[in-house]
Symmetry: C3
Amino acid sequence: MTGSPVPPELYAEVLHFYARQMQALDGGDFAAYAATFTADGTFKHSPALPAAQTRKGIEQALHEFHERFANDPVQRRHYFNHVVLEQQEDGSLRSTAYALVLTTRPGGRPDVGPSCVVNDVIVRESEGLRLKSRAVDHDQELAAVAA
Amino acid sequence: MTGSPVPPELYAEVLHFYARQMQALDGGDFAAYAATFTADGTFKHSPALPAAQTRKGIEQALHEFHERFANDPVQRRHYFNHVVLEQQEDGSLRSTAYALVLTTRPGGRPDVGPSCVVNDVIVRESEGLRLKSRAVDHDQELAAVAA
Amino acid sequence: MTGSPVPPELYAEVLHFYARQMQALDGGDFAAYAATFTADGTFKHSPALPAAQTRKGIEQALHEFHERFANDPVQRRHYFNHVVLEQQEDGSLRSTAYALVLTTRPGGRPDVGPSCVVNDVIVRESEGLRLKSRAVDHDQELAAVAA
């Protein structure tokens, strides 16, 4: 919490960026999600898994993950909260946000969890904000470390 | 996700508009909620129900819905997330947002769900932002369609 | 909902303030959380408890609360939503926001609740925004009053 302050306009822009990005992911548009990363972007979906790299690699990793649910139709929603931004010396933004996964099956109530923390590095490219990297921590593992 | 970009000031204004609107709804102030619509506004609370129309009609539909809970006091909260705005050619804003319903009964923990998506058309009137229409989709039905 | 309107830049600034504050609290940095209050700030964590006063008092109250969990490691997350701001005549801001507590234990899914409402008075000091007071209401008690 010691980085230089971030203008409120940029804060609102990042919230909107996340909104579009996560609606694309939850809507199954993996190409659009991958396009929110830089060309060399990395996406570490879970501490236990290797990071996916490049837009093509990220898109493919998401397709593989969702093939597991081919016979189990679900609507997944990622709720974000408490986005904290830090301006870094190289011009990039460090972003830390809460992310809660909700999963609804036909006719049912949402299952809640896992509760996660998203660690992003955001850069501005000519087309707009892009993720240079995203690494996701899971609370059920953090709590285990603390135990 | 192809509309013209929306200024961050407008994005923050819409978030604040939603905050006031939904605190009014959850606080049982249905007249205040209805007043956030245009005079000819429409509110489609569920895909299975006809849309309520005009502020009077919206207020009445909400009273009828809540009469069901007359002997079952609950505190309902609508959590919004990932608001995506698109500027439309006619000057209105198209807004798509996640909405999660939480319901607490005396002494209890909140029930979670349903998980919804809110589809709004927002216009600016002299008094401020107003909803021209709101239509709510429910994930438990979307997942059923996908199945 | 009748206060004078709040500029969208201030709205985004308050959201960011809350994000840093609550990540500090959930991260166990009680000194950083207490530092988001004014020197004479008050924190009423629950209607049934007396308010903690001053930064030292707030920090100590949080340590005492968390000692209960010394043998029960948990990762707690406070999700905020629908922040409503009102400019007050004395220059302070009145803020009302939803707050949902999520608690994750090692290897488990998050427990959901309680669902709360946070009532803050925010002032601007030379170092930035600070809470003059925070009082938290709990929905399971509000619903009981309504019953």
